[in-house]
Symmetry: C2
Subunit: 215 residues, 2 copies
C-alpha cells in the first residue's frame, strides 16, 4: 500500500507531466494547427511517453480543450500580475491598452486562433470553446474597467472598452503571419490617446445626466 | 477546327464554371476549413464534375489561392460600389466604419480566416497569402482616407485609420463562433464617434505644425 509520502511526489510528478503536456499542446497548436496537434505529437514535444500522455488525455479533443483552459487561466493570471504594475498618471491608459493587446497575442493567441478556426466547422468543439472565450472576454473587460476607472454608466464608455478588446483581437490576427510589432506600437499609442480622451471628456451628446454625480 | 463563334460560348461556359468553383471554394472553406475544401468537395458543391474542376484547378493549393484572390477582388469591388453610396454629413463617419467592418465579415472573412490559420503552419502558403492580404489592407485603408478626407499629415490620423481596420478584423473574429450583430452595431457607433472626433479635432499635443495649412 502507498504511504502518504509516496503519494505526494507521485502527485507532484503527475502535475508536472500534465503542465508539460499542456504547454506542448499550446506550442503544437500555434505552430502546426489542430491537425498537427495529435496526442502523439504533443507527447513527443513534451518529452513524455505516449502512454503517459494518453493516461492524462485519452482524446485529442480533451487535450486541446484542457490546453485552451490552461491558456485562459494563464492569461488571467498574467493580467492580474500586470495590473499591479500599471503606472499611475498620464501613461496609465496606454499601459492598460498595451496589456490588453498583449493578452491577445503571442503563442497563446496563435494557438487559440487555431482552435477557433477548427471550432467554426465543428459544432461540438464550438459549444465548448465559446464559454471559455466568454470567460476571457469578461475577465479582460473587467480588468480594463477597474484599471482605468471607466464609468460605464456614461453612454459610450462600455463600448469604448469593448472596442479595445476587439482592436486587440484584430491586432493579434494581423500579427499571425507577419511581424507587426512596430506598426502595432503606433496603433496602441494612438488608440490610448483616443480612449483616454473619451473616458475623461465624454462628448456632450453622449454624456448621461447621471455622469456628474457618479464620478 | 473551332470557329470564333464556337469558341466564344465555350470560353463563356468556362468562365462561369470557374466562377462557380471559386464561390464553392469560399463556401467550403468558411464551413469546413482547409481540410474540408478538397477539389472534390468543391466540385460537388459547385455542381461541376471532378474532372472539370481538376482541369481548372489541378491542385488544391491553386484552387484555394484563386479563391482568396477572388475574395480580395470581390471585396474591393464591393468597397468601390458602397463608397458611391456613403452619405454626406454627420452620418458619414459611421457609414464608412460600417463599410470597413462589413469588408472583414461574413463568409468571405470566415473563409479567409481558415486560410490564414492554415498559412500560420505552412510557410509556402504564407508567402502567397501575405501579398494578397496586404493588397486588401492597402485598398481599404486608401478608401477610408479618401472617404473621410482624413489628413494623414496630422500625427495620429494614419494610426486612427489603421486602428479602424484592426478593429474590423477583431470584430470579424468575434463574430466567427457566435452571432455578434447587436454588440457589433454598438461598438461601430462608438468607434465612429471617437474616430470622427480625432479626425475633426486632433488633440493639441498630437497636432503637427503643418496641420493648419494643409486642411
Amino acid at each position: 500500500m502507498d504511504t502518504a509520502s509516496d503519494r505526494e511526489p507521485r502527485q507532484e510528478r503527475s502535475r508536472v507531466t500534465r503542465a508539460r503536456l499542456l504547454d506542448a499542446a499550446v506550442g503544437c497548436l500555434a505552430e502546426r494547427g489542430v491537425s498537427g496537434a495529435t496526442v502523439g505529437a504533443v507527447a513527443e514535444r513534451a518529452g513524455v511517453s505516449r502512454g503517459a500522455a494518453q493516461h492524462h488525455f485519452p482524446t485529442r479533443e480533451g487535450l486541446l480543450l484542457a490546453a485552451l483552459r490552461h491558456m485562459v487561466e494563464s492569461r488571467s493570471a498574467d493580467l492580474r500580475r500586470r495590473a499591479d504594475a500599471v503606472p499611475a498618471g498620464p501613461e496609465r491608459t496606454e499601459a492598460v491598452v498595451q496589456m490588453v493587446v498583449d493578452a491577445f497575442s503571442g503563442p497563446d493567441f496563435d494557438a487559440a486562433l487555431q482552435l477557433w478556426a477548427a471550432a467554426a466547422s465543428d459544432p461540438a468543439l464550438r459549444e465548448r470553446v465559446i464559454p471559455l472565450e466568454e470567460q476571457v472576454g469578461r475577465a479582460v473587460h473587467h480588468a480594463v474597467v477597474e484599471l482605468l476607472g471607466a464609468d460605464e454608466s456614461i453612454p459610450g464608455n462600455r463600448e469604448a472598452v469593448q472596442a479595445t478588446l476587439d482592436l486587440a483581437r484584430g491586432l493579434g490576427l494581423a500579427n499571425l503571419l507577419t511581424d507587426d510589432t512596430a506598426r502595432r506600437r503606433r496603433v496602441v499609442a494612438q488608440w490610448a490617446v483616443m480612449l483616454d480622451r473619451t473616458l475623461r471628456e465624454p462628448l456632450p451628446s453622449t454624456r448621461s445626466p447621471r455622469s456628474t454625480t457618479k464620478r
